[in-house]
Structure formats: C-alpha cells, structure tokens
C-alpha cells in the first residue's frame, strides 16, 4: 500500500455517540485499518475510536504520537519520522474533522513542506452541518472560533459581526464554552437588532440533534435552555 511518496491521512471522528456508519464513509474504515502510525490529541480516545471503526485492528502494533495544544511546534518534524521512512501516517481528531478546530494543522503544514501527500477524508463537521442546517447564506461565511469573554470586547465583536453580515452578506459562525451558552444567547439578544436571526445547533448527528433558527425577538420569548450542552452559534439577517 505504501509507495515512494507517503500519505498523511486526515481521519474525522464521530461528533456524538452515533454509530460510525452513520457519519463516516466505508472507505475511511478500510484506510484506517491499513495505517500503522497515528498522530492524536489523546491516545485513550483514539484507541477507543479505532476499535469502534474495526474490532479486528490490533492496537498493540500501532504507534501513537500526541499533538495537542501544549505541543511545541519544534517537535513536529520528529513526529513525522515514520513518513521519512516511507510509511503512511494518520491524524485522528478528538471530534469532527482534523486540522479544523485542533492543532493538527501544524502537522499538515509540515507534511506539505516535506512534499508528502495530504489526504483529507470525509466526515462530520459541526461547522459545516450547522451552516447547512441554519438556512443562512452558505456562499459567504466566517468561522470565528470563540468570541472574547470580557463584556466590552464581546459587545464590540458582536457588533463587528453584525456589520459584516450587513456589508458582505456573510454568515457568522462561532462557539462558546457550554456552561456559558445561555449567557451568550442573552448577550446576543441584548446587543443586536431584534430582526437578526440566530441559529443554535446542538448534538449534531446525535439522537438529541436540534437546529433552531429564530429571530432574536423570537429567541427572547422562547427562553430555551442550552446550559452545558455543546452548541454552535450562527448569526445572519
């Protein structure tokens, strides 16, 4: 399976407790079964994911290198050592797509520098699924990650996002620490015009999936509770 130019495979993982077959194409399982060298954020959850993909994988013959938020970028070339020896490697995300909201992007960048092949595979992304499900403009959008926590900076960020919606017809996508979700919704209602639409999506691909798109004046009346539920937020007019 391995030729002159080794491949770095990017393996998405499931977002929710839903079965693998509901969120990953069959070929992902075929490929992951062949790869022997993995880069992961957490070895325990990566092993569990591999066993879910295919019970017959012999975990003991695999190697795992950890790349997480604390990883010194200087050690990444050493982590790609198996590729220098001609072996394929795989990055497994903790949830969703590698190199999107995790430190995998640094590994991918290093692989490009060294001329290796980079092979992203299809899988669930809360950013993309929520954008599809929101009904907002998908032809122009921005993902901002986390907004600032401090009140004045957060208000400024929300107003800037609203200006970008009005000026560029650009959907705004962002996340929040789950225990602050209700505060986030209250801050949005307090800051932006009542006709602005907010979409909140939770447990995407899971049994508790909810995708709710309402205007801020409707949100104010609904008083929905999202405390401690992982959610993604989208704004548009």
């Amino acid at each position: 399976m391995e030729n002159n130019v080794p491949s770095l495979y990017l393996f998405p993982s499931n977002l929710s407790e839903s079965p693998i077959g509901e969120v990953l194409p069959a070929i992902n399982i075929e490929i992951i079964t062949e790869v022997k060298h993995f880069i992961v954020e957490n070895i325990r959850t990566a092993r569990r994911f591999l066993k879910k993909c295919n019970r017959d994988i012999n975990i003991d013959e695999l190697t795992f290198s950890v790349v997480d938020v604390n990883t010194d970028p200087a050690i990444i070339p050493a982590i790609l050592q198996p590729m220098a020896q001609g072996h394929n490697m795989g990055i497994i995300s903790e949830a969703g797509c590698p190199a999107v909201a995790d430190p995998g992007a640094l590994v991918v960048a290093e692989a490009h520098k060294r001329g290796y092949r980079v092979m992203p595979l299809v899988g669930p992304s809360s950013i993309l699924l929520s954008l599809m499900g929101s009904g907002f403009n998908g032809q122009s959008f921005t993902f901002l990650g986390y907004l600032p926590i401090h009140a004045s900076e957060r208000t400024a960020a929300l107003k800037q996002m609203h200006a970008d919606i009005v000026r560029n017809r650009r959907t705004q996508i962002f996340i929040e620490t789950p225990y602050r979700n209700n505060k986030m919704i209250a801050d949005i209602i307090a800051t932006l015009p009542a006709t602005t639409r907010l979409c909140v999506a939770t447990d995407l691909t899971g049994p508790g999936q909810r995708i709710i798109t309402l205007t801020l004046s409707q949100w104010r009346k609904q008083q929905l509770n999202f405390d401690k539920i992982p959610a993604i937020f989208l704004l548009y007019t």
Copy 2:
C-alpha cells in the same frame, strides 16, 4: 417513517466521479431510499445520483421540484407543499453539500419558519476538505465565494484578505471559474507578499486529487497549470 413534524433532509452528493461509498456514510443511502419528494437543482443529474445511491429506487414514484439560481423565492412555500401534508422531503445538491454554495439555503430558511425539522447529513465539501488539507488555520477562516473579476476590485479584495490574515489569523478560502485559474494564481503572485502561502486543491476525493501548499515565491517558480480544472484556493501566511 413519517411522524407529526416532517423532516427536510439535506443530502450531499459526490464531488468527483468517485464511488458513492467513498464519500457518503451508509445511512445517507438508507434515508434517501425512504424519501419520495425531492428538491433539486437539475432533475437529470439528481435522478442519476439516486440511481448511483441505490439501483432499486423506483424513480417514477418520486416527485422533483427544481430550485436553482433563477427560482423566485416567492414560490418556495409552494415547493414545500408535501411537508405541509406531513411528508419528509430531501434536497440533493449538484455537487457537495446542499445549502452551502447553492440556492438550497432559501428552502431551509422557509422550513425553519414553518417549524419543520431540518436534518443535514454528512458528505464531501470542497471548502472543508481543502481547509483540512491546506495546513492553514482552521480555528478561524472565511469563505468568500467568487472574487471580483475587474482588476482594481480584485486587487483590493486580495489586499483586504491579506490584511484579515495578518490582523485576525484568518484563513481565506475562495473559488474561481476554472478557465481563469491560472490568471487568478498570477494575480495573487503579483499582488501579495512572496512569503504568503497559497493552497490550490483540485479534484477533491477524486482520482486526480492534488492539494498543493507553497509560498508565493515557490508558486512563481513552479509555473503549474490549472487551466479548466475545478479548483479551490486558500491563502494564509
């Protein structure tokens, strides 16, 4: 299968000529086999896609409504008529994920207004796959669709994107009409600092997949030809 609140399923389709099983989870095929009412951009390609998903689907018992760039938004409530009667419906994209770079978002917005359930399914997105494969920052990014064609506006747009990269560490993603790809690359090289990195991704998920990330000074030396090849472009420092 149909209960009180009908569901609007968003069915991604394959980007390339690759087999369905390589890009779609098995559950997509199970669900699409149950849905009888579809909203599509082009009936011919949607019928072909359905037959690829499952040869046993009886196309003649299905209904198809067209929503494309020429659709008057005023007729969308009438298109959702089967849902008003309690039936599930499905949107099939021409390529990739519905409601992202196609007119499906208007249909989704109307479904939310009427309180229907919206169910986005996992599938290939050239935006997300190229972002994963680029090695650029996935924690903050913008998709801009097409850039302006006129020289001065395009130069301004490229400079604005570069400012957004520097100020917000935000990856910039955009597309171009394939016969203008080489001109786009030349314009980028002529406009932005030589240390800026450009990723060009072509035929994602297909046999001719290429994901090339280089600095602009490296691009200048390579003189690669992307004429008439569907591609997606990403910029970062």
